[in-house]
Structure formats: C-alpha cells, structure tokens
Symmetry: T
Subunit: 149 residues, 12 copies
C-alpha cells in the first residue's frame, strides 16, 4: 500500500474560517481537510493532516514525513518567511514537496516576499484558497508516482 | 456559451522541450496546449492558446482577454520579472488571472524573484511543469464560475 | 463581569531582575505581576499573567486572548523582532493590544529596530521598565472600555 | 510652416477612460487628442498623436520625432519605469521633450518612482490628468520657439 | 468673491535670477510673481505670493492656506526633499495642491529624488522654469473649480 | 518647590482635533493641555506646555528645559523623523525625557520609522492618543523623583 | 560550408554616427557592417548582420541564430541592461556568444552597470568602438572553431 | 566537583549522519556525543549533551546552563541565523560560550551569514565537522578554568 | 578695507563648554570667538561671528555672507547632516567656504556621516576642537586672497 | 617525511602582545609560534611560521604553501576583509586551509563581517586567542591526514 | 622608434595554466607573453610584459608606463575589484588603457562585479582567455596610433 | 629633544604636481615637504617625511611612528578608502593622528566617501591642498604637547 501524503499546516491555520475571511476565505481547516482527503482518496492516497502553532513541532513532523510520506504538502504560514530551521528540515526530505498558501504573498506585505520554504519545494501554489490544497494533492500524487517509477 | 479561457505564453516558450530540459522539461508547447485543451474541455471551456516573444503583443492579447475571456492564464516568462507595462495591462483585467511558471523561480537566479505579474494575479502556480497549466485551468474555471455567480 | 486583561510575556523575561539589570532593571517578573494586578484591580479588571520561552505557546495564548480577553498586553521580547507567526496571531485579535518593552529598543542594537508586533498593536510603551506595564494596563482598560461603548 | 509637435503615448493608454478611472480619469484617449489638437492649433502647431503597446514602436517613433518634430511630448506609461532603450532614443533627440503622466507616480507604487524618461526630459508634468497634456503643449511650444530663436 | 490662490516659495528662491542661472533661469522672483498674478487674474483669482527661508514659517503659511486658499501652489525648494513636518502640514490641506520646481530634480543630484511634497500634491510640474508657475496656476484654478462644483 | 515638567509639541500639533481625526483623534491641543495639567497637578508638578512649527524654536525650548525642567515630555511630530539638531539638543538634557506620539508610527509610512528622538529618550509612548500624554506625565514624574533621590 | 556568424544589434544602433558621436563615434552602422564582413570573410565566414529597435524581434533573431549560426555577436544596447527575456533566449543558444559595446558601460550611468547579456556570453568587448566588432569576429571565429573541433 | 560542560544542539542535528552527508558528514550525533564525552572526560569534565528541534526548549536549556554549567557549547543550527530570543538567552549566560558549526556557513547560502549567536559567543569553530566539537571542548575547558582562576 | 570673514555656527553650539565636554571640549563659544578674532586680526581680517538654532536664520546669514564676506567659515552642527536648503544656500556662495566640526563625525554615529555642507565647501576641518576654527581662519584668508588675486 | 604545516600571519600581528591587549591578548607572536610548534611537533609536523604586513608577500607565501605544505593555517588579519587577491591565491591551494582569528569578528565593527578567506577555507576558528592556533594545528593535521589517505 | 606597449599582470597570474584551468585555461603566462609579443611585433611594437603579486609594485609599474609606454594593457586580477590606489595610478596615465580578464567576471562571484580599473580604461576585453590579450594588443596599437595622429 | 612628527604619504602622491593638477594642485611633493619642515621647525619639531605606493610599507612606517613619533600626519590617498590593515595599524598608535587630503573627498566619487583612516584619526583636514599639511602640523604639534602635559 502506498505511503500517505502528509499535509502539514503552520501557525494560526487552526483559525481558518474565522480569521480575516477577506484574506483567507471562510472555509474552516476541517473543511479543507475533508476536501484534501477526498481528492487524495480518488488518487489512491491516504492523508496525514496536521496543524501546529509550534515551529519545533512542524520540524518534528517534517522529519517524520521524511521517512513515512509519499509526498509532503506544507502550508508553513508565518514560519515560511522566517525559519531557516524549517528550511533545513525540508532540505533533508527526499520525497516531493509542494508548498501551498491560501492567499497570494506577492499581494501582501513586503515581509511575506521572502520564503525559506519555496526554495526547497518542487512546486508552489498560492492565492487559490482551499482549492490550492486540492491542486497540491494532484501535483504531489503525480510527483510521487514519477519518483517511484 | 461561455467565454474561452485565454492561455498566454511569453518569450522563449516556443522553444519548450528543446531549451534546457533539466529546467523546463521535455514536453513541447504544442503538447502543453493539448493537455490544456483537454482539461478545459472537460470543464466546458474553449481555450485561446498563444505564444509570443514580443512584450507589446503580449499586452495586446491581455487587452483582448480583458473583454473576451472568462479567465486568463499567463506564463509571462522573462517579461514577468521586468515589465511594468504588462503589470498595468493585467491590472485593467477584471476576470480572474492565474500565473503559471514551469520552473520554480524561488530556486533560480535572484533576478527571477521579482514579479510584476504575481502582484496582480489571483493565483500563482510554479515549479510543476506542464501539469501546472492543467491545475491553472481548473483554478481559472472555478474562479470564473464564482465571478459569474 | 468583565473579561480579564491578558498580560503575555515572551522569552527570557522569567530571568527578570537577574539578567542584565542595567538594561532590564532589578524587579522580578513576580513583582511586575503584583504591580499589574494592583493597577488592574483598581480599574476593575482581573489579569491573566503568563510567561513562556516558546514562540508556539505565545501564539497559543494570543489565540486564547482573542476569545477570552478584554484587552491584550504583550511584551514579546526577542520574538517581537522576528516572528511573522506572532504577527499573524495578533492580527486576528480584535480586542485592543498594547505592546510593552522594559528597555527602549531604539537605544539598543539595530536588530531590535524591526518589530512585527508594533505594527499590529494600538499602542506601544517602551523604556519605562516595570512602570510601563502599569501604564499599559491603564491604556488597555481605557481602550477596552471604548471598544465596548 | 512649423514642424508638428509629436505626442507619443505608451502602453495601455488606449484603454483610457475605461481602465481604473479613479486613477486615470474618465476621458478617452481620443478626447485627450482633441484637447491637445485644440491647444496646439491655437499656438500654431500641428500635432502627430499616437499610441502603442510596443516598446520598439515607441522607440521608432521617437527616432522619427528626432528629425520631424518641433518638440516631443511623451507619456511613456509603464515603459518609462523600465526602458533604458527608450531613454537612449530620447537622449538622441535634440528638440524639447516634455514628459506627461496622467496620475502622480509619487503617490503610487514604489516601482513607479524610477523614471528613465524624466532624466532626459526638459520638463515633467504629472498628476493633472488630461489637462496635463494641454499644459505640456503650451510648454513644448514655448521651448520649441526658444530653441529656434 | 473666490478665495485667493496661495503661491508659497521655499528657501533660496529669493535669490532667483542671481543664483546659478544655468539651473534656475535669469528671471527674478518678482518677475515670476508678476507672471503668476497675470495668469491668475485672467482666471479670476487673487494671489497670495510669499517666500521664506524658514521651514516653520512655510508650515505656518501652509496652515493659513488650509483655511484661506482656493488652492495652493508650492515650490518647497530644499525643504521638499527633507521635511516630514511640511508633508504633514500639506496633508492637512484639503484644497488642491500643485508642486512646482523650476529645474527638473530627476536630472540633478540623487538627494533631490526624494520628495515629501510630491506624495501629498495632486500635481507636479518640474523643469519648466518660470512658465511652470503659470501652468500651475491654470491647473490649480481648474482643480479648485472642480472641487467647488 | 519642584521644577515644572516641560511638555513640548512640534509642528502641526496646533491643528489637533481638526487635522485627520481618524489618525490623530478629535481632542484639541488645549484639551490635551488640560488633561496634562490635571494629571501633573495631582502628582505635585507644574507644567510648561508649548507648541511650535519652528524647529529652531523647539530647540530653544529644549535648551530651556535643560536648566529649568524636572523632566521633559516631547511630541516632536515631523521633526522627530528628520532632525539631528533636535537630537543634539536633547542629548544635552540631563533630566528624564519621555517621547509621545499620538498615533503609532509603526503602522504608518516608512519614513516615520526612523526617530532621532527615541534614541535619546528614556521612554517612548505611542499610539495611545491624548491618554499617552497623561501616561507620560506619570512616567516623567517617577523618573524625575528617582533622579532626585 | 560553415554556418554564418550572426551579428545582432539592438535599439538605437541604427542612429550610429549621428547620435552622440562623442560617446558612440562617427562611423555609421553600415560602415561597421562593412568592416565586420571584411574581417569575417578573411576568416572564411559569412555574416548575418541586423539591427532592430524591438526586443521581441531581437529575441526572434537570437532563436534563429540558435539553429543557424556558427557563433553569435550581439550588441544589445539598452536591452542588455533590462531584458530577462533576452537573457533567456541567449541561454538557450549553444554556440559561442560575444557581447560588444561601442562605449564602456563602466564609465557611464549606474543603470548601465547591470547586464543580463554578459552573464550568458563567453566574452565581452567594450569601449573599443567599431573595432570592437572586428575583434569580436576574430574571437567568435576562434570559439566556433574550437567548438567544432 | 566541577560543573559539567553543556553541549546543546539545535534543529535537525538529530538527523546527523543521514542528512546531506556531503555537507554535514556521516557521523551520527550519538557518535559525536561519544567523542565529546571522551575529550571532556580527559579534561575532567562531565558533559550534558542534548538536542532539540524546538527553539523554546533550546532557550530553556540555555537558561539551565546559565546556573549549572562550567561552560556552554552550542550548535544552534538554523536558529542561530534567526533567533533574537536565543541571543538574549545567551547574553544572560556568564560562563564561556563556544559556538560550533559542522559546516562552514561562509561557504553556503547568504542567509547563513548572519548569526545571532556568534556575537554573544567567546569563540566560534566552523567547518571542521565532528572534530569541531572536540576542539570546542578543549577551548571551553580552558576558558572555564580561566574564569574560575 | 577687506570684507570680513563670516563665521556661522549652527544649533546647540551656544551650549559649548557645558554640553558633553568629552565630545565638544570645555571652551565656550565666546572663547572660540576670541581666538578666531585674534587669528583673523593677525591676518588683517574682521570677523562676523554668529550662532543660531534656526535653520532659516542660518540660511539668511549665508545669503548675507554671499554678498558681504571675504570668506565663509561654517560649523553647521546638526543641520549639516540633514539640510538640503542649507546646501542650496551655500551653493550660491561664490567666496571660499570652509566647514569646521569640533568633533570628528567619522568617529560618531552613522547619521553623522552624511554631510550636505562638505560637498559644497572647499575645505573641511574636523576633530580638532576650537583650534579647528583658527586653522579654518588661516585657510579662509589664504583662499580669499587667492580669489582676489 | 611529511610536508610542514604553514602558519601565515597577516598585518600588525607582529605587534601581538603590545597592541590592544584587551582585544588580542597579551601573548606575543613568538609565544604563539612556540605553542604552535609544540602542538604540531606532537602530531609529527614541522611548521613554517611567518608574519608580514605586505599583502603581496602574503600571497607569495600562499603560493609557496600550495606546493610545499601539508596544510595551511592563516590569520589574514585586516587583509581577510578586503583582499580578493588573497582569496584567489587561496582558491588555488588544494591542501586544507584553516582560518584563525584571535578575536571574534562577529563582536567587532561591521567592516570585519565580510571575509574573503572564510569562503575558501575548510574551517574557521575565531575568538579563542592563541589557543585557536593550537586547535587549528590539530584540525589541519587531521584534514591533511584525511587528504593523504 | 615607437614606445613599447606595457602589459601588466596582477596577482596569481604567475600560476596561469596550473590554477583552476576550467576557469583560466591551460596556457601558461609565458605562452601568453609569446603570443602577445608576436601580435605586437607584427604591428611594430615592443612589449614590456610583467607580473607581480604586489599591489604597490603594480602601481609603480603603472607610473612607469605613464611616461614610457605607447599604451597600457592591464589584467589587474584581484586588485581590479578592490584597489582605489590602482585606480588613481591609472587615472594619471594619459596613454590608452585596455583592461583584460581571462575569465568573464559577470559569470562569477558578486564581488567580481565591481571594477576600479574598468572605469578608467578605454576598453575592456573579458572572457576570451589568452586570445583576449592579443585582441587587446590590436586595440591598444590602434588607440596609440590615433592618439599620436 | 622632542620626537619628530611623522608625515606619511600614500600611493601616487609622488606624482603630485604632475597628476591632474585641477584636482591636486601644481605643487610637487618636495615643495610640500619644504613647507611642512618650515612650519614644524618653527614649532620646534623635526619631521620624518615619506611616500610609498606600497600598502605594506605604509603599515611598516605607521608601526615605526607608533614608537618613534610625537605625532603622525597621514595622507593615505587611495588606501584610506580600502585598507582595514592600515586602520588596524593606526589603531595601535597612541600618539595623535591627523589625516590630510589634498582634495575634498566629499566632492568626488562615491567610493571616496568611506574612510578607514578617519575613524581612527583625531582630526581630519581635507580640500585645502598643500596648506592642509601645514595646518595639520600645527594641529599635531598642539595635540602632541597636550598629550605630554
């Protein structure tokens, strides 16, 4: 049986649907998870779906994904702009990585321009809200399949 | 009948499949077009698919899309990093815009970090090769449908 | 009964009174807490007073304050200069936020100039030592009252 | 008979009156042309009035103006912020040059601060909408007359 | 009777006609005033025309213009590049503001690139010498009329 | 009898209550003065309360405060961001200095980030409107008392 | 028979000999072409010699050279300082590239320091006027010969 | 009996020996610990040797070392480049601090140039792999001895 | 009889001898004036010696010196680092200008590195305390004599 | 017999023990040499130990080390921050290079942050005074041995 | 008889052919000299050909060339990126100067972008290996002849 | 008998009087030496007067001055802008240091703004030509006398 796709969510994403809906949309993280499981299931993949506000925990999980995942989808939220430690954890991951952002950082504050995740991810999907997660699943599944082939 | 989705490709993308395949992949632009038409057709959309090396022509086409398209997918290639004129043309477009890059600019030269297109696009998909176009079609179709609703 | 004022303290503030007293003063954090409770009590407010060295825990608490506090006073210490994640957590808070610094960052190292908290706080009080917390309580109480009115 | 005044318009100005009227006003480029011809006629000057989205064509026309015009009025739009090639073309022009902007770049995005046209133009008129063209005609006519004297 | 147009001139403009005529022209400030009164009179406007070397006095006058003027024309000279205080005074002005420069700052030293006036002025006219004042009067009169309408 | 507390106000603060009330609040400077005198009186201090638009006058007053004041509260307004001369005057002051800003500079334009006053003030209070002055009085009185002790 | 050497000239070089002769010299582009053909002929090479003001056309020609040329000599003029699109086109060229500048950019404006062509060219020859083209032919011929060997 | 030497390891160092061995070497962290204990033992020191992916935990441990250690050796990994909070914790430590990096940051990405640890450490040893830890032990032991003397 | 040498002193120099004597020395400005008059008298020059805290007054005096002085010695103090207006006034002065600083700006804060006076002065003397004024007199007298010759 | 270890010392290190002992310690360079020879001898290595104030001589010696040394230890002192020529010389060296600094550049002036030696050295040891040389010998000996194996 | 052409070579060029041949080629400096003498001889010029690792010696030789050479060809190697002193020496040279680089600095590290030689040289030839010297001879001979004419 | 004053001259000053006289004046270095000896003699000081193009030699001499001079006057020429090594040598000098520049660096190229000598010199005299040396002697003699007192 194939390894699962890991979907890791960074700080404040637990507030999804309640925090600044004009920026992040009104869907909750639970609803996003349901969508993700649906799309992944159709492609034959289990999903490990988690959220944390703790940088260290995010790194712990990335290290788990390193050995247990077919592919890794990550929405690093605020840590993506500042964490070299997260960058280093992801750099040690050999399965495909797809970064997702609900909003489009290029249209927001300057301090969201820098990403320590984008430069270790294969692909980046931004600004497409919850749908972005679904597209990331499709991309991750394809990349995982290619990696195995 | 719905308006078509415009898919506009900037400079050097006509070389796709032959130019630096380790960066851009080995699929030709014609093959990308076939994929795009397939995915869009399944979602009930025609596609206008074009490529040019000329910044002015790209702007002309964006202005056409402004009145004729349901949504606009654009891979601005090199002009995305330098063209305020293209930015201004896109800013006048009211239908959804999705920017696509075959490779992931965050993993390349510094001068590819700046984008004058990302900050006027709803969504950005990068680093996923030809599949990125397909995902962009799905996103554009959804955004167009939401805009009409 | 009114909601309490949250007073959240970031990393190394547990060392207060022992660490570099020429910069941070000789009062301990416990003594600061006593002062804060006194001033808040006089204004009819309970206080939730906490300290942590963990960025994620600070974010967890900010999220709690978001639903449970009348106002939030935060001394982010080192995380104020680096944490976009903390910024995002605070941005989701709708009650008044007052940032406090014991010392005056403008008189210290360059890397203390940037603040990811100041730009989401209503007010900032710096350089006034433990008294700054008391003044912050007075300000927070007033802002909370205005918000309710 | 005096040489005409050239009035060259850069990318997206063909959309004038329809694109972002809160920034650029509601007059069309045709209406601007009518105003310009009126003011110039009163001062005894013909007008060559053109618009293009193509940087190369704009340069071609500047080279024509170099030999055929009494003075050159240019609204370079987006190319003014990025085109060294346009700068070089203008630098070879010996008749007076007046740069016009409908909006005031100093009140807009940072990337509109840099101009490769202002530093080769005698005069700059910005933020005065269509009237700015008329004032430019008056200035250009005076400068041309002084140049001939 | 309509309110007058204020024309305020900053430091060293009292030397006009004697100081560096290759940059600023050979007309004196008195001659500029005569021109300005002529053009304004033709448009039905009185003129308050003043010069000072004192930043504080310039701010005092801007505050007067705030309540007494139909429109404000300002040549801030050196203070335009450095004065946040002047910026703030102008920001409090609700009638139209037109900034004038005798020379074209874009062709001069780097430290003349920054303007704290341009970003609060409706319009900017630069490099057209004394004629620039006349054009500013025409623009200011039109903007004032639109504001009243 | 104790020396008075000086409260010095920089440019445009005379417009308080009328200028941009969404930023600076609707209280006038006279009302702020009344508040300040009340709070200071309760702490046994006279107040010297002044406002000027002139940088030189502000410096003259700071030099007076140097010999006559128990403490100095200063809202430098625009001059705080640009005046090395004011910085130098304050540096020669040996009594406590508290800087006050009505609004929070960290939430405004970039050019309000730099302060030549903060780096010579003991304390900084920003974003708390007129209440900030009252808190500054409390802080200044405490610092003055400590200095005497 | 060997493939020809392509010599591509960017914007405003058609004005050679008339534009700013103190910078660019008094020889016309036709005269440069004659020199180039002479030197190349002596080395057994045909020459394709072209000039355009259009960035897109320059890119089209570079793409032609990619398949038809033994080597490519390019004077990108203004586009060399700004065009990522041209950079990308050149990067896809596998035959030798030599960049030529009539004047020496290091002695001119700051904005001529950056080159998007130099970092994909084998060699660069600058400041030697028309002779630079001849030397470039010699270098290109040698590099082409080595590539074939 | 002497206090132990603390050896604290930051994020991702638990992967040592498996992650990017061309950069970090093939020894595991356990093997490094063995080496360290050996060298320290020979010098009469116990060792407290720990690793964490959590910034807050690293700070907690630094605070412990502050009271319990003879000296502190720290490999902050990614947190060294970003953590002001860690810097502040280390600044409160009065026993000697030696920073160790397995690889040489000066030969890696730009974002590894900045260190918030180096500027509070006595000594820095970089690029010498596991041996660097041993040398750090020797240095720390000497510095500790000098401090006691 | 020769024109006098003007010696103009900027803000806070009236405090000389009392303000920060470790930086500025313990001589008063009156004592400096006496020295200056002595040295100048020996060289046959009268002296006009003034001090002001007002930028505008400093500019007024520079304009006087422009017509009345044989040479101008200026210690601009804080205004030297910030005043484009003062720069412009000095640029209009045709007699020799010597800038004096009591302390050496290169050894002080970064914001004292920039000077708007040095780049219009013939000579600069810094860090030599009151003696620097005397040396400036000698230099100014020589430069004035050469100018007359 | 093994090749010697070269220990090359840059400018002003001949003053060691007399120059700024609070920064550089009180040991002389001769004493450092003795230590170095001791440690190296114990590891079976001869030492070539030299000092020069001349950049060119330092480069000459690096070139000698290139062919004659088992490993190279270099304290480039001031030249390490400025010398591309030294960088190039070191880049041509294939034996191991260890850079030593007596003090810790990260705790000193900004201009000591940049190093043209660190980015061509395997290892860097800083801030450990004369002991740093000894540790460098141990590291160099190990690296040399590995290189031979 | 004509003056000789000086060909001066900076640091590390004595290693040519042995150092990093993938960057600098496999020809030795002696072979380059032979080529240079051949080409110059054919054009009727003697050659003075030298190499040094010492900046001061390079400056001494440039000063000799100033009086003894018909033209100066210089490959400053590392000193070209850092030496203002060399720049000043070259600025005093009135005969033609051609700068040569074996490799193309634009394709190498950032610190090779800055040149203090290019901005005082007539021409620059880079990236063409040993052939670059020959082309420089041809250019220098022509420029020298023109200077004499 | 008092120690002599050292006057050290950096690169290219041997060309004085012949190199760019519009910048450096027409007096030779020999004539400057004569002046210096005269002025120093009148003040009872011998002079050691030297010039070199070699940075290392300049450092050697500074080290000599450190033990043998009453005061040090240095015109570092080009090395002043680039040499950290020279800075370090001067920092070890305890007698007074006066820096002299013939021209005024503030009026020249940007790369002459930075000085590694000014920030270790007591005084700086610039732009006053050969007279600047004489004034430096007077200043150095006074500073030396004060140091002895």
């Amino acid at each position: 049986m194939p390894k699962p796709i890991y979907v890791l969510n960074g700080p404040n994403l637990n507030l999804l649907g309640t925090r600044e809906p004009h920026i992040y949309g009104s869907e909750t993280l639970g609803e996003v998870e349901t969508r993700v499981r649906g799309r992944a299931g159709a492609l034959g993949h289990e999903v490990v779906f988690r959220q944390t506000n703790h940088e260290g925990e995010l790194i712990d999980w990335v290290q788990q994904a390193r050995v247990s995942a077919a592919a890794l989808i990550i929405n690093p939220a605020g840590y993506g702009h500042t964490s070299v430690a997260l960058h280093d954890a992801l750099k040690a991951v050999e399965v495909p990585i797809v970064e997702v952002h609900l909003s489009n950082p290029a249209r927001r504050e300057d301090f969201r321009r820098r990403s320590f995740v984008s430069n270790v991810a294969q692909g980046v999907i931004a600004g497409l809200g919850a749908q972005g997660y679904e597209l990331a699943v499709e991309a991750a599944a394809r990349l995982a399949a290619e990696g195995e082939a």
